[in-house]
Symmetry: C2
């Protein structure tokens, strides 16, 4: 028997304040952190959390205390569509069926804030185009780099420059495992166990260690930095799961360590995009080598602005919630501002790992 | 005899395209770099540079070739006000009389992009309030941190978090001089000569070395990070001009070096703002210690998002032009988007250097 939307005393019927009404779709780690921030004081005077939609809404609601209990809970997405929510926060994982929900939300006149890397990597341009046409906003700072404002840095801050290359560490599980091996001499399995214990890694961390997650993030960054459209599947990846302690010893003798590096550069003259994700040697002097635990880092090289380095917490509920609440505030600040979709083109050719000399070669 | 505005063949009278028309006020290093970017290909399809205003317009125009020659040049600000320019790029220095020009531009219905640190540090809130009331934009990414999108990171990216403290290196002259002393064993005078030769320092670098410039930048960051209003004059500064080679030797023994550090933290419960600019010991492992030449760095500590580090080129024409053109693109993208002025309050108390143990103490 499906759970129907049930209204509680928290929302007086007939009354609509002038705050932006927010619904959360998916109450996992990230969704719960966002809910907590929105119900807290100070941070969101123009935002009001009104709905939570989760397929296990009944169970999850039963475990909540006030103030979350007073919201409208539902397990039916259609209830969100029919509601007076202005913005839907999508914190599910995987591109299916999430992309359908995001599309339906925009078509239904809602703005959307998403933390979903796969949705934005695979359907970002189409969804941003839809958002523009609908006169609504689609924001996704949380989809790459956690609390690091990487989407803003590339999309806004460096929009007046020509970005030449990106070298980044984009997966917090891989960084946790590799830095654990480097710093404590742990085995790969011990590193994975540690990342699981800290709530960073999933039980099956292969998506992280194999570079699938970082490739999707890199695809998003390629769109922002180079205005090219690339499927995450077209980015060559090499797994970090085979790295052994000896590799760290060898790297140390060379004055560095090993991280899962995501690299992209674009030759505008030939239209050639070079992009790959692989374990790679990084010198100790590099910001990439200095990442540990859940940290992400990006080194962005541009024609006029030189090198910009950003380092911060790349994932987890709290860091993702920072990016999501910042996006919500941006929408609430100016609901009328429509962000035009980027015009992306296909690269003439795509180069992967073939020409690279990497750590485990 | 004043130079009057003279129209040239580049602008056909009666014709108004749908691009955003841009005027540059002050054709110094930064203004010239912006002009070059706007006249180049690719970067600014929605922007059209139409006017240049400089008090030595006649001389400067005489030294230009095409395509700048075809613009409208004037030495009278009133010509800009009367023109069809949508945005005025203000690249003068010092708060007077620049603030009057910025105010007049907003009152005249223009949006403004400024690189002027003193104007924003001393009059930022009043001007942003005026811009909001006028339905125009005032953007100032170039006023702090050059090509590092620090204003965007604090104002947008971290707006969903509570910022606790900022530790930063904000003056490129001070960094150039101190890193020159550290790396090459130069004297302070040799370091200054080197910074002058590289076009980073002014002939009189006291505003930079004494911390006046960094204090103004820190005042801007305090508004963005803590929503407090503080005059740059209320921020205690200690000069870096007295640092000697021996100080670097002592610091090295302690595992670090010396940089001009700008620090701010805010205790929300008591309303106490701690803020100062001073030469200080920084461990080699810190991103602040790793700055050299014209680099700036900021380490921002927040409640949920942890530590975010940004490092990049902090000044000079090219880096400032990146920030300015990015701001111009943001305005052109959405001329309707009005950015509400921040609501700032006075800190209950302001703490300076008294309680600190610093390098030269």
């Amino acid at each position: 028997m499906p759970l129907n939307s049930f209204q509680t005393s928290g929302n007086s019927p007939g009354f609509r304040d002038d705050r932006c009404h927010v619904a959360i779709l998916g109450l996992g780690t990230v969704g719960a952190a966002v809910a907590q921030r929105l119900m807290g004081p100070d941070l969101a005077p123009h935002l009001r959390l009104t709905h939570i939609c989760d397929r296990r809404a009944r169970d999850k609601r039963a475990r909540q205390g006030e103030p979350l209990l007073s919201l409208t809970w539902t397990d039916r997405f259609d209830d969100l569509l029919a509601s007076d929510a202005d913005i839907i926060v999508e914190t599910m994982t995987g591109s299916e069926p999430s992309v359908d929900y995001v599309r339906a939300a925009l078509l239904g006149g809602k703005s959307v804030v998403t933390a979903n890397t796969q949705v934005m990597a695979r359907h970002g341009q189409a969804l941003l185009t839809l958002a523009e046409r609908q006169g609504r906003q689609l924001r996704y700072e949380a989809a790459v780099g956690g609390a690091i404002p990487l989407v803003g840095a590339l999309g806004d801050g460096l929009s007046g420059d020509t970005v030449l290359r990106i070298d980044a560490v984009l997966n917090d599980t891989a960084t946790t495992v590799l830095s654990q091996m480097e710093q404590h001499g742990s085995s790969m399995d011990e590193g994975i166990a540690e990342a699981c214990a800290r709530g960073i890694a999933d039980v099956d961390p292969s998506v992280d260690l194999d570079g699938i997650d970082a490739a999707a993030k890199l695809a998003i960054l390629c769109g922002l930095a180079f205005h090219v459209k690339i499927s995450p599947d077209a980015i060559e990846t090499r797994t970090s799961a085979d790295i052994r302690l000896e590799d760290f010893k060898k790297a140390k003798l060379r004055g560095g360590t090993i991280r899962q590096v995501a690299h992209a550069s674009f030759d505008r003259a030939s239209g050639t995009l070079t992009a790959w994700v692989s374990p790679d040697f990084v010198p100790f002097t590099s910001a990439l080598a200095q990442t540990s635990g859940p940290e992400n880092a990006a080194i962005i090289t541009s024609r006029s602005g030189g090198t910009l380095t950003l380092v911060g917490i790349g994932g987890g509920g709290e860091a993702s919630a920072v990016a999501i609440v910042s996006d919500l505030r941006a929408i609430a600040r100016d609901r009328a501002a429509i962000v035009p979709a980027p015009v992306l083109s296909e690269p003439a050719s795509i180069v992967g790992l073939s020409a690279q000399t990497l750590a485990e070669a």
